[in-house]
């Protein structure tokens, strides 16, 4: 029998790093294939995403929503739930935020927190539908969160093209009042104070999961629901709570998009931020710090590829391929462990 030695923390960090390097190597084959120089392409990607304070700010701005959706997916995952529904929870949260943002006229110190809170509540309620269906009726959360995504998408489509349409040619609401908006902190980029909220959220996730009794229960359910039940933990209750907290985090991503980036609800504004959150959580090993780092990496890839597209002929689709390759290599963890001769994690 083989000894199972737990991987050391630095090895945990090494795995995603190796995945990224492998993805860049395989990606360079594609870049060569389209007739560009991979070193030049990666050079541009690097300077355009991290080469100046301004580019770093753009990278962080792109990373902010992914931090929230990544945390959302990671939190549910720790409780043994695969939340594919972050996208839908984000839309519901975003709509709640925009509703508070346009409907009230309050001092900033109340208005902004209220809009953020509304987004969290909206996301949490939407996600707890999925949690309830799983806990009480045994409907698998993967199925019901996917279905709820569609409902959230079309519901907000209808709300924003119908009763809340702002009257312009674009299917969008009117702008929120400025008292509900996050403050931009590094002009001319669109980085806002929402990035601080993401940091707070990551700390909160860490504390809830590892420093509270509730967190202990959630993780116990995640590791083995039967054992947890046997140990006196109410699995159904914890399932609903885990989904609700996960949904609140996804709702925060919606709040960031509305109150920070767009200042209005544009139909289908999220370019798969919720689904990207799955990749971010996976790469970040479902740990809050890992999630933040992974979100910054994906933010850098997006910011870099957009800038690359603006100033060179390298098609940005290449970067999408590299993102996919990173996910692929992270998922193929087993392969990398074999390569590095690491013992399998228990």
């Amino acid at each position: 029998m083989r000894d199972k030695v737990k991987a050391l923390p630095w090895q945990e960090l090494l795995l995603p790093l190796v995945a990224v390097v492998l993805a860049l190597l395989v990606g360079s084959v594609f870049i060569l294939y389209v007739g560009e120089n991979p070193l030049k392409a990666y050079g541009i990607l690097f300077t355009e995403s991290l080469g100046s304070m301004r580019n770093i700010a753009t990278t962080l701005q792109r990373a902010t929503p992914l931090m929230f959706t990544g945390l959302a997916v990671a939190f549910a995952f720790r409780a043994g739930l695969f939340n594919i529904g972050a996208e839908g929870q984000l839309y519901i949260g975003a709509f709640c935020a925009v509703w508070v943002g346009i409907s009230f006229n309050l001092p900033r110190i109340i208005h902004l927190p209220l809009a953020i809170f509304a987004a969290m509540v909206g996301g949490a309620l939407w996600a707890s539908i999925a949690g309830y269906l799983k806990a009480k009726l045994g409907v698998h959360e993967v199925i019901n969160t996917i279905m709820l995504n569609f409902i959230a998408l079309f519901l907000t489509d209808w709300l924003v093209t119908g009763p809340f349409h702002g009257g312009s040619w674009v299917p969008e609401t009117v702008r929120i009042s400025s008292s509900a908006a996050f403050t931009r902190i590094y002009l001319p980029t669109r980085l806002t104070t929402a990035v601080y909220v993401a940091g707070i959220a990551a700390a909160a996730v860490y504390i809830i999961l590892w420093k509270t009794k509730r967190g202990y229960e959630l993780r116990a359910v995640g590791l083995n629901p039967d054992a947890a039940e046997y140990g006196g933990i109410n699995v159904a209750r914890n399932t609903v709570i885990a989904m609700a907290i996960s949904g609140a985090l996804a709702g925060l991503a919606g709040a960031e998009q509305i109150l920070g980036l767009h200042n209005r609800f544009i139909v289908r504004f999220s370019s798969d931020l919720g689904f990207m959150g799955i990749a971010v959580a996976l790469l970040g090993k479902n740990h809050p710090v890992g999630v933040l780092l992974a979100a910054v990496l994906f933010g850098a890839l997006q910011a870099g590829s957009a800038a690359m597209d603006r100033s060179t002929a390298v098609p940005r689709e290449l970067i999408t391929i590299i993102q996919a390759l990173i996910i692929f290599f992270v998922a193929a963890e087993f392969l990398i462990r074999r390569m590095l001769r690491l013992k399998e994690d228990a």
Binding site: L39, G43, I44, T47, V170, R310
Partner: protein
């Protein structure tokens, strides 16, 4: 491993430094596409042709970008403005909201927007009389229909696309008072599957000619025409070649011409903002050359289209513009 990694980082950094381009004296023009991007064989591709023509003939340096989504429009606008380009052209009304803000923040940068109006002194708004061009293809449809039912498939249901619809309906009725026009909207400019679906449903309701004003969605309409017993009418670019013989004509909107003209004015230093309108009279909108359908369409149809065209130019026919 670690050494190799740091070596890679160093190499990457060096290459990045070398790759920074030297300052050029040429006029620098930036263009930001609408959603759907390049390869829509329609609106964006027309803008690209104008940009490339300007690049060849006016000796300029061009930059262009395809936004991944509507959230990116503002970032690209600001980035090009920060690069200090001589002109930033944005394609489509989808940019209007962001450009209103950005152009105010950069009063020294010149902008141009296709298909919408931004009322700042540094913005030139490029508009088309799509209702007049749509009237002309409506005449073709009205005369060519055998079932007296024709169809219209729009992209998003916005006033701009209604302009195409109203012009088309009036053209059909002018040529054939008995004809009926079915109208459907796809809700998107980048969903060919939905376009195909709507076209087939109109065909099943009796339509034998379907006009689309739906950007990339419209390629589904043309695709459906190619494999079913009805004709399509293309839009924006000359789409007749997409299903030779099955696309009766295209309502050509010379976005390329507008893009070229506005770049030319910027290069010559005569660009002063305001609104430019391109219509039937100056060839800004009109029918295609009927390259593949000349033999199917009787001469009297061409005569009637020419008659309508002259009457629009002379003002004898006034096509309703729903935006006014």
């Amino acid at each position: 491993m670690r050494n190799k990694l740091s070596l890679l980082v160093v190499v990457v950094l060096l290459v990045g430094l070398i790759a920074v381009p030297a300052a050029a004296q040429k006029a620098r023009i930036g263009l930001i596409f609408a959603e759907g991007g390049l390869g829509d064989q329609s609106f964006n591709d027309a803008a690209y042709r104008g940009l490339m023509q300007a690049k060849e003939e006016l000796d300029i340096e061009v930059y262009y970008v395809e936004p991944a989504d509507i959230a990116e429009m503002e970032e690209h606008q600001r980035a090009y403005a920060d690069m200090g380009l001589d002109l930033v052209i944005v394609i489509g009304f989808i940019h209007q909201s962001a450009l209103t803000e950005v152009s105010a923040d950069y009063p020294n940068i010149k902008f141009a927007i296709v298909d919408d109006v931004v009322d700042n002194p540094n913005v030139t708004s490029l508009l088309f009389e799509e209702h007049e061009g749509s009237f002309l293809v409506g005449v073709v449809a009205g005369m060519m229909t055998k079932s007296n039912v024709v169809g219209f498939v729009g992209g998003m249901e916005v006033p701009l696309i209604r302009k195409f619809q109203v012009g088309f309906e009036e053209g059909v009725k002018w040529a054939n008072p008995n004809a009926q026009v079915l109208v459907n909207y796809a809700g998107a400019f980048d969903d060919p599957g939905r376009g195909r679906e709507l076209a087939i449903s109109q065909y099943e309701r009796g339509a034998d000619i379907i006009y689309h004003a739906a950007g990339g969605t419209g390629s589904g309409v043309i695709d459906a025409a190619a494999s079913n017993d009805f004709y399509a009418i293309g839009v924006d670019s000359d789409q007749d070649y997409m299903a030779p013989g099955k696309v009766l004509t295209s309502m050509i909107k010379r976005v390329d011409m507008a893009v070229y003209e506005v770049i030319k004015a910027a290069v010559e230093g005569t660009l002063e903002g305001g609104t430019w309108t391109f219509g039937v009279a100056d060839g800004g909108v009109g029918t295609s050359e009927f390259k593949y359908t000349k033999d199917i369409i009787p001469q009297e149809v061409f005569d009637r289209v020419e008659e309508a065209k002259q009457k629009i130019i002379s003002g004898e026919i006034v096509v309703t513009n729903p935006l006014q």
